[in-house]
């Protein structure tokens, strides 16, 4: 019989706004560029992690969203990650390509893989569990649902942080949610996952 799992919380970062469980928790007072927006969210969340400033935008957004998800209840080391996006590590790839004929930057090069965002999340929160990164043209709720459900049913992970972490040169769209066995108002289903993703559009 299929086991039920539950969405414990969700985070959306899009259009220079941050939402937690559907409620807006942060928006800068003035229009800022992406770099300043990310720094403003970092400051707002009172994170102290100097390495954050060295990361590319994809990793910064992954860290910020995960930090919000685990603010009230820290994620444990067995929390798995199932992320998806469309553009891979395009921003870092582009930045690397821009300078490769001159002097390539090792600090940019190390971010030219999309799954590095999961590595950074694992390092920051000391996770040593399963993690998977998929590339897809759009957020595929059914795919993420089935993959996550499977990992939880097989007890490969006690808990999963899953979602969409799209970052490209023009825009970004981040949606992460936390799923485990603890009962909550929202059963983990493809429909509820889709609903949570489209919240705050």
């Amino acid at each position: 019989m299929k086991e039920n799992f539950y969405i414990q919380g969700s985070v959306i970062i899009r259009n220079d706004q941050v939402f937690k469980n559907g409620d807006k928790i942060f928006q800068p007072d003035i229009n800022v560029d992406r770099k300043d927006f990310l720094k403003a969210v970092y400051t707002f969340l009172e994170i102290s992690y100097p390495k954050f400033h060295k990361m590319d935008d994809l990793c910064k957004l992954g860290i910020l969203a995960t930090e919000i998800l685990q603010q009230n209840k820290p994620i444990n080391s067995q929390t798995g990650l199932v992320f998806q996006n469309k553009s891979g590590s395009l921003v870092s790839d582009f930045n690397h390509q821009q300078i490769i004929n001159d002097f390539a930057s090792p600090a940019i090069f190390v971010y030219t893989l999309p799954n590095i965002v999961m590595g950074e999340v694992c390092i920051m929160y000391q996770l040593n569990s399963e993690n998977f990164f998929f590339i897809n043209p759009h957020f595929d709720c059914n795919f993420v649902y089935h993959y996550t459900q499977n990992l939880l049913e097989n007890k490969s992970s006690q808990e999963i942080v899953c979602g969409w972490v799209e970052v490209n040169l023009e825009s970004y769209d981040i949606f992460l949610c936390r799923v485990n066995k603890e009962k909550s108002r929202h059963i983990f289903t493809p429909e509820n996952l889709k609903k949570a993703y489209h919240n705050n559009e």
Binding site: K39, P50, H53, K54, D102, F103, A104, S105, P106, A107, V110
Partner: protein
């Protein structure tokens, strides 16, 4: 003499995105890769690129790196010797 040291601190902060640090926070003899400043292996590679790009100095023997990159002072002395 000290201009080079201040310049190095500024460039390292800029190139390595050490946003929590200012030039005043880095002492000439602070350990860059120890507890003082806490740089990592990617930072070391960035400093190698910086030396080549801005000062025209190539580090050919990687074993030298540990001594050269110990502090701002040792990097400055290495530049002064090799430029």
């Amino acid at each position: 003499m000290s201009n080079l040291r201040e310049e190095l601190k500024y460039k390292i902060i800029e190139n390595l995105n050490l946003e929590d640090l200012s030039v005043e926070d880095i002492g000439n003899n602070d350990l860059l890769f120890g507890d003082d400043i806490g740089l990592d292996s990617i930072d070391a590679l960035e400093i190698i690129v910086l030396l080549e790009k801005d000062y025209g100095i190539k580090i050919t023997d990687p074993k030298q790196g540990k001594e050269i990159f110990e502090s701002i002072e040792t990097i400055a002395q290495f530049i002064e010797k090799n430029q």
